[in-house]
Structure formats: structure tokens, C-alpha cells
């Protein structure tokens, strides 16, 4: 049985017990799993002293563009493979998981049956395309799994990854493209039998540490960064493990204005060239941005008067009695975005290039770009259409805390249908965001700035203006649709009382 293959770069997040998550994904669409790219997310409110959502990790902007962060057909760096529920036939969108034949920790062979699902009239055995060890099972019997969602994760060995070729195409598609391996960088540590993330493996490599010698203190004996550094410290490879923790992060992820690796006498101590191998998120970004660049984008720019929004936020803050809740602009922007999406569902869709079909996503899972110590991630708020502004506020806060702690779950990062990105304090008028495939639109919002405006009779008044730039897939969306959608969204922001008109 054919299994579609999807690989993502393991990020510095802890594996926990079985988690369920939704990943709208067709067998051919690129991986919506986000990988943090470089950039910064900064959103300051006009007239407010404190930055509400201010993460001072600036974008690396090339030609004034900035990147959307979702990885597409990621290359494995750690050998963990996502095994999705592959397309099993025309019109089959989901299956019921009936039973597992394996459990976490089991060693499995290529073509070994791993579970049985039911779709409509058929029970179907799903077999593994890989030899490896079951790392994580994501569903339990009785669950409904959408086609494309990850069923389980397998730790694979290096050799398989580099020689993977699909044998059985699906009946309705031409099959997944071959994913070219980039395995020259894989070392013994990458393919060792211990559980660890790619970041930890890289760190071990940097310090010349063999992971097999390190005792893991994480769950199931997982080797954590601290374990590697402790070992290296004891071996005498490094002076101070805690310092290395920070510098290691910086080396791995070219982020931070302060750490920008521009050739400078101060940073390098010389004027020689320095080779920086791209690893982890950076490496993933190369691939994902290359894929995104192939999509014909167009950009629509508009300005939105946020006077009413500013007033609304103040009103929320003034009547807020919950110390755990802090009101910002984003939740209202997100909710009004969802209201506009209800009228223009094409903006909230995924494009399947091979089948030439557009999947209008039922849920509004709005991704919000956030900076973490490891770079930019885009967790998403699920089902915004069914959430109140207060619920969105709380969920946003939850995701932000997890992001800062680098503890986002795959569930939080997967399944986004549209991305919202704050550009904030970098500078410039606006960027041209690249799509977060397989989404068809991305919205970049700038800082709200107080600017002079003219009335009809020529008087000047101050207004809080926010610039938005909507990047769109021109294979699916045309200018008129995006313009009308933006107009609709703008109306809800400029006249938030209209939200009440649609309140159920």
C-alpha cells in the first residue's frame, strides 16, 4: 500500500505522549509543517508605550522581501519521517482508524503492515515504506483521520532516506515527486539509534561528541541539549556549558540583528571568508522558499484606518478584570479576518497543482508568525470561525508562551489555512511576503502609525493607519477577489460594530 512521505525538520521541542493534530494535506501538496525561517515578528500599537508582542529577532530581508516560514517537502536532517495517511482513492477524504499493528518503540520493516483503516466500504491495511522504529503514534482506534494527516512518526535510517522512491502510484494521481536527498551532511550521530533532535545532533557534532556515549535525561532516554553539553564539559571540550547553550543556538540559527553574520572585524576578528553551512531551520527555509518562489505571486497593498480598533482595544482593556488576559489588536484583526473569509472562502484554500483543484478549507486556522529563541514559527489558531475574540486572545497567549519556551506542539503548527505576519519594526514601507504553501494567501500587517489625513474639505486630522500587504497565489486568486476580500476585512476593522451584525 502506498504511503505518501512527508519529512520535517525536528525542531527543539519535546516529544510528549500521543498527540492528535489535524494537517489538511493532500498527498501532493507540499508539507504544511512550518519550519521557522529567519525573521522577526514585532507588533507595536500606536500610542502605546509597551510593546505587546515584541520579539526582537529581526528579519533577514533580502531585497526588502521577507519570508513566509512554512517548510515544503522538507529534507530530513534527523531521520524522523512523518507517515501520512495517503490518498486511497477518488473522493476519499478521510478514514476511520481501526487498529494498530505496531506500538511506539517497535522496530518495523519496510512493507510491514502498521495499521488498518476503514474508508466507506473498505478496510485497508497501511504498510510502512520504511524500516525503522516507531517514534510516535498520533491516533487511536476510532479516530477519523483525514487523508494527508500524519498517522505516525518513524525514526528511519540514513540509507532509506537517500534512496527513497515511490513504487506504487495512487490511482488518481501521478504520485509524489521524488524528494532529492541531501544526506551528505548526515553523520553517524544522525543515524545512531538514540533518540534526539537534529538540533541536538548538530550540537554534538560541533563538539565532537558521539551521541552513543551520552546518557539521555529526556523522556524515553531522549538525549537533550543539556546532556550533550554536560558530557562535552566533562570531557573538557567546552569551558562553560551554559554559555555554549546560547552560542550554540546562535550558531545554528542565523538570527538576531546582533548576530547577523556579516563580515566584520569585530565579529570574525579577521577579513577572511567564512563558510556557514546551512542547518536546521535555515536549511529547511532554502527548500521551502524555493518552492514558494515557483508559485506566481501577486501582492495587493492597502491601508486600513485603525482608529476604531484602537478604541476597541482600550475598551477591552478598561473593562478587563482577568489579570491573565491582556488585550491586543491581533485577536480582533484575526476574528474580522475570519468573518471576511466566510464571504471569500477561496482565500482560505489549498491548491493541488497536479489535480488542478482547489480545496476550500472549512476551518479558519489562522497562522500567526512568532519569533522563538530558535527562529520564526507560525503556530495557528484553529477554527477561528467558531471562537470569540476573548477565546482567540487566550489561545494566542497560550501559543505565544509555548513559542517563547520552544514548546509548541506539532498540532499547533500544523493545519494552518492562512498566515498572518507582523512586520513591525524593521523598517521600509512594506515587504512582499512569500506564501506559506499550500496556502494560497498570506497577509503581512505593518505597524499602526499615526499619520495625517485630509477630510473632504481639506482639514488635517490624525489617523492610526496600518499598511497591509496580501500575497496571493495567482494561479488561484485574481486581483479582484483579493481586493474585494481586503475591502470586506477592512470594513470590519474600521467599523467593528459590523461584527455584531454577523454575531450568532
Amino acid at each position: 500500500m502506498m504511503i505518501g512521505r512527508r519529512i520535517f525538520i525536528l525542531q527543539k521541542r519535546s516529544f510528549t505522549s500521543v498527540r492528535r493534530f489535524l494537517c489538511p494535506y493532500t498527498s501532493q501538496a507540499p508539507n504544511p509543517n512550518p519550519s521557522p525561517a529567519q525573521g522577526s515578528a514585532s507588533f507595536r500599537s500606536a500610542g502605546s508605550r509597551s510593546s505587546i508582542l515584541h520579539f526582537n529577532v529581526p528579519y533577514i530581508a533580502v531585497n526588502r522581501s521577507f519570508f513566509s516560514s512554512h517548510a515544503v517537502a522538507d529534507l530530513p536532517v534527523g531521520g524522523i519521517v512523518d507517515v501520512p495517511l495517503a490518498q486511497t482513492g477518488e473522493g476519499i477524504a478521510e478514514c476511520e482508524l481501526l487498529k494498530w499493528f505496531v506500538q511506539e518503540g517497535d522496530q518495523i520493516e519496510e512493507f510491514q503492515p502498521i495499521c488498518e483503516v476503514q474508508s466507506d466500504k473498505a478496510t485497508i491495511e497501511i504498510t510502512s515504506r520504511y524500516k525503522g522504529k516507531v517514534a510516535q503514534i498520533l491516533y487511536v482506534p476510532g479516530d477519523i483521520v483525514k487523508v494527508g494527516e500524519t498517522l505516525l512518526k518513524i525514526v528511519v535510517e540514513e540509507a532509506q532516506v537517500s534512496t527513497y522512491v515511490l513504487e506504487n502510484p495512487t490511482p488518481t494521481q501521478e504520485g509524489l515527486k521524488n524528494i532529492k536527498p541531501c544526506d551528505s551532511e548526515l553523520t553517524k550521530n544522525d543515524i545512531c539509534g538514540v533518540l534526539s533532535t537534529p538540533a541536538v545532533r548538530n550540537l554534538a557534532k560541533q563538539h565532537g561528541v558521539d551521541l552513543n556515549d551520552v546518557k539521555g535525561t529526556g523522556k524515553d532516554g531522549r538525549i537533550l541539549k543539556e546532556d550533550v553539553l554536560q558530557y562535552a564539559f566533562q570531557k573538557g571540550s567546552i569551558k562553560d556549558p551554559s554559555a555554549s547553550l546560547t552560542s550554540a543556538s546562535r550558531r545554528q540559527f542565523l538570527g538576531g540583528e546582533e548576530d547577523h553574520p556579516h563580515p566584520s572585524g569585530e565579529v570574525l576578528g579577521s577579513y577572511e571568508d567564512k563558510t556557514v553551512p546551512l542547518r536546521g531551520f535555515q536549511r529547511t527555509m532554502v527548500k521551502s522558499m524555493s518552492m514558494a518562489a515557483k508559485v506566481p505571486h501577486f501582492h495587493y497593498v492597502d491601508e486600513i484606518n485603525c482608529d476604531a480598533l484602537v478604541e476597541l482595544k482600550s475598551s477591552f482593556q478598561n473593562t478587563n478584570s482577568d489579570p491573565d488576559v491582556k488585550h491586543t489588536f491581533l485577536p480582533t484583526l484575526i476574528k474580522s479576518l475570519s468573518m471576511a473569509l466566510s464571504k471569500y472562502p477561496l482565500m482560505n484554500s489549498c491548491f493541488n497543482e497536479e489535480l488542478l483543484e482547489v480545496i476550500l478549507k472549512g476551518s479558519h486556522n489562522i497562522g500567526i508568525a512568532m519569533a522563538t529563541p530558535s527562529g520564526l514559527v507560525v503556530p495557528n489558531i484553529k477554527n477561528v470561525q467558531s471562537l470569540s475574540i476573548l477565546e482567540i486572545t487566550k489561545e494566542l497567549s497560550r501559543l505565544q508562551l509555548l513559542a517563547l519556551d520552544n514548546k509548541l506542539n506539532p498540532a499547533d503548527i500544523c493545519g494552518g489555512t492562512l498566515t498572518l505576519s507582523n512586520i513591525g519594526a524593521i523598517g521600509g514601507k512594506f515587504g512582499s511576503p512569500l506564501l506559506n504553501l499550500p496556502e494560497v494567501s498570506i497577509i503581512a500587517i505593518g505597524r499602526i502609525q499615526k499619520v495625517p489625513q485630509f477630510t473632504d474639505d481639506g482639514n488635517i486630522y490624525p489617523a492610526s493607519i496600518m499598511t497591509v500587504n496580501i500575497g496571493a497565489d495567482h494561479r488561484v486568486l485574481d486581483g479582484a477577489t483579493v481586493a474585494r476580500f481586503c475591502g470586506e476585512w477592512k470594513q470590519f476593522i474600521e467599523k467593528p460594530e459590523l461584527l455584531m451584525l454577523h454575531m450568532k
Binding site: M1, A122, I124
Partner: protein, 265 residues
């Protein structure tokens, strides 16, 4: 693995049964699917007693009028293939194909291709007899269903089995609830407006003979009997098709009645 019989045409063992209990038939099918490497066609001309057969994940509370089922002591079982619920009896004719995944040239081992292949095969069977179609996943004359299908697809093999309503008893329909998921073409029709009897079109023997002839266009058929299969049976194999116990049905009945109550609170 294809077993070439005639040049280029795979071998298939044909087993003709009559009045065999459906549980025994399903156990046999599951065993052949999972432990045999041959292709099989099993035809059971009627089962011995009325029995309710649910699909692999069927829930009695949702699918059955359990009180009536318990009262009339109708056996209920859950089979190993997917699909819906049927009430089978001596008026039901069963036809099953169990094949290696490459047995039929050009069809891929997925639900839809197998379903289409079976539709084409039965098209031959009913040529000139009625307005036969494969409609969504059902066999129909016009827009009335007379044959229901279910499948199971394993690593190297698949089974496609059908229960044909050659005849049925109207009162038996009362044991089944209207399912939550119905094919679109059903529209809002009640059970009796939705199904039809094959006996209005052709006799049992004619149907079975025509089916065997149609199968011969794909396979080289070789007759086998049940005893021959059972003597070489893999005794370690444990089928998953099973009868539900009285206790399970009673618990389901309680659950069903509680659900009804909560709707009106």
C-alpha cells in the same frame, strides 16, 4: 503473485456453497484472504437463517432496533470488511472475490478501482436483463439497490464481497435503523422504496451461472470444495468476524435508550 492458468489469465479457485451459515462463510473468507496465496471466488447460494451482519466498525445502538433484535433473537455479527449493515437470510446470494493484488491486470489495489472492476464484471452478468449499474458503491437496477458491497485490502491481496437481495422479507427490514450515512442517490427514500428483488429479473441458478461465466473472462476457474479447503486450513488463524453476545446487545440497548432520553431534556 499471479498464477497463470490459461496463457496470461490467472487461476482462481471456485467454491460453490449453498445454505452455509454466514459466520462460517465469513470465517472462511477471512482465512483465505489472510493465509492463502491463491485467488478465490466463493458463491453461497443463500444462508441458513436470518442474521444481521454489521461492518467492521458497526455500532449496534446506531444501526439496529435492538429491542426487536433481542426479542426475536436474531444473531448479530460484526464482519472483518468495511461497509454497512445487512440482514441476510436464505434469500440472499453471496458472491466473493479474493485476489492477489496483481491478479487483475490494470487495476490497482484500492477501493474505487476494485469497485469499478466489479461493476464491469456484473455489467456482463446482467447484460440484457435489467438496467444494471454500479451506483456509488451499490449494484442497482435503475435506482433501486439489490446488491451491497464491502471490501478489505491487505498488503498483497484484497477481497470484494457482495450480498445480493435475490429475495427478502419485508418484516426483516424492521430490525435495521435508517443508517446515518446513506448514498446520495438514495435521496429520502425509505428502505422498501430504495431496494428491489433480483428474483424479479432472473432465477438464482441463472444468476450464478452468468456470474461464473463473467468471472471466466478474467480468470481460469477451477472448482474446489469446502472439505478440501478445510483440511489444509491453517489452524492457527483466528478470524476477527464474530457474533455479538447477548450482553453486548443489552448494553447497547441501554445506551441507545439513554441517548434518546437525553435528546428531550
Amino acid at each position: 503473485m499471479a498464477n497463470p492458468g490459461k496463457i496470461g489469465v490467472p487461476m482462481m479457485n471456485l467454491v460453490r456453497l449453498k445454505g452455509v451459515p454466514i459466520l462460517q462463510q465469513l470465517h472462511l473468507e477471512e482465512r483465505l484472504l489472510r493465509t492463502s496465496s491463491h485467488n478465490w471466488c466463493i458463491i453461497n447460494d443463500g444462508t441458513n437463517q436470518p442474521t444481521i451482519v454489521m461492518g467492521v466498525s458497526g455500532k449496534p445502538a446506531e444501526l439496529l432496533e435492538i429491542e426487536s433484535v433481542l426479542c426475536d433473537q436474531i444473531p448479530v455479527m460484526r464482519r472483518f470488511t468495511g461497509g454497512g449493515t445487512v440482514l441476510v437470510d436464505p434469500g440472499t446470494i453471496f458472491v466473493t472475490f479474493i485476489c492477489n493484488k496483481d491478479a487483475v491486470a490494470g487495476i490497482q489495489p484500492y477501493p474505487q478501482p476494485i469497485m469499478s472492476w466489479s461493476g464491469a464484471l456484473y455489467n456482463k452478468v446482467f447484460q440484457g436483463i435489467g438496467d444494471f449499474h454500479l451506483r456509488e458503491n451499490d449494484y442497482v437496477f435503475g435506482d433501486r439497490k439489490f446488491g451491497g458491497n464491502a471490501q478489505s485490502i491487505t498488503k498483497n491481496r484484497w477481497i470484494h464481497h457482495t450480498s445480493f437481495l435475490w429475495d427478502y422479507e419485508v418484516r426483516n427490514m424492521d430490525y435495521l435503523k435508517l443508517p446515518a450515512r446513506v448514498p446520495e442517490y438514495r435521496l429520502a427514500r425509505g428502505h422498501l422504496e430504495f431496494i428491489c428483488r433480483m428474483k424479479d429479473y432472473l432465477s438464482r441458478s441463472e444468476f450464478i451461472n452468468r456470474t461464473i461465466e463473467a468471472a471466466k473472462t478474467h480468470f481460469s476457474l477451477r472448482s474446489t470444495d469446502l472439505e478440501a479447503i478445510e483440511t489444509t486450513a491453517n489452524t492457527k488463524f483466528c478470524p476477527s468476524t464474530r457474533l455479538l453476545t447477548m450482553q453486548e446487545l443489552e448494553i447497547a440497548a441501554k445506551f441507545a435508550s439513554q441517548s434518546n432520553v437525553s435528546l428531550y431534556q
